[in-house]
């Protein structure tokens, strides 16, 4: 990974109106199951799954929600899925009042890549993808700059 050699900090997407999930230590099928279940239960229109690393997935939902509804949905998934990583992530997001998902590469981890799409993708997903593109562009520009 050439990008990580210059960029030691992590760049991520932060939002309060987009429902984001960070599922750790789960298979793709389990991640898709929880994404589908939340999508159906809260009528979130559609979702996008990104693979962060082996058995680590990020989920982005399409419908715009308020911050309280956002946290209600994440709390619902973390309570039912018993996923320790998600619970920890959920508490962290509550403290800083904004959900963040990593976009840039991290130590021994590539930037998350899209692995699955379902439902409508023209709402918050489209905005997430626009911002993801911008962050990736910034990362590639920074990796070309020699800071030393």
């Amino acid at each position: 990974m050439s990008q990580t050699s210059t960029l030691n900090c992590v760049l991520g997407f932060t939002d309060t109106e987009t429902v984001l999930l960070d599922l750790d230590d789960v298979s793709f099928r389990t991640a898709r199951y929880w994404a589908r279940r939340a999508n159906r239960w809260f009528k979130l229109e559609g979702f996008l799954i990104l693979k962060s690393s082996e058995n680590h997935y990020h989920v982005v939902f399409n419908r715009r929600v308020s911050w309280s509804e956002n946290m209600r949905i994440v709390a619902w998934v973390s309570l039912l899925s018993h996923n320790r990583g998600l619970v920890k992530w959920f508490i962290m997001q509550c403290i800083k009042q904004g959900s963040t998902l990593r976009v840039s590469p991290k130590v021994e981890k590539h930037s998350p890549r899209i692995v699955y799409r379902e439902g409508i993708q023209d709402g918050r997903i489209r905005e997430f993808l626009v911002e993801r593109k911008l962050i990736k562009k910034i990362v590639s520009c920074i990796s070309r700059i020699d800071f030393v």
Partner: protein, 101 residues
């Protein structure tokens, strides 16, 4: 559209060494005080910037943030950070670490 980017991680910076000293008060109680010395030491800290603004401002702010590490948790418009980066951060270098979002 206002975009928001998070820049976070672990970094190395320098801070003044604090020296402890004791002083006997008028009422006879010995009290502990701390004074900031001119000596500095290297410390490893965690911090985060939350930048919002246009694409161009965000790019400039992220480039600037490579050398100026945050003083804790900073949530500001990228334009304000570019005007006076030293107000929100200090000199330091980001180091590779496995940090959560």
């Amino acid at each position: 559209m206002v975009k928001k980017i998070a820049v976070y991680g672990t970094f190395e910076t320098t801070e003044h060494v604090k020296q402890r000293y004791w002083k006997v008060r008028k009422d006879g109680i010995k009290q502990r005080y701390w004074k900031k010395t001119t000596r500095t030491k290297k410390v490893v800290k965690k911090g985060r910037y939350e930048f919002h603004g246009s694409g161009k401002d965000l790019y400039k702010a992220v480039v600037k943030a490579q050398k100026i590490v945050p003083k804790g948790y900073i949530d500001i418009p990228a334009k304000d950070f570019l005007k006076n980066p030293r107000r929100y951060g200090e000199k330091g270098t980001w180091i590779e670490s496995d940090i959560d979002s």
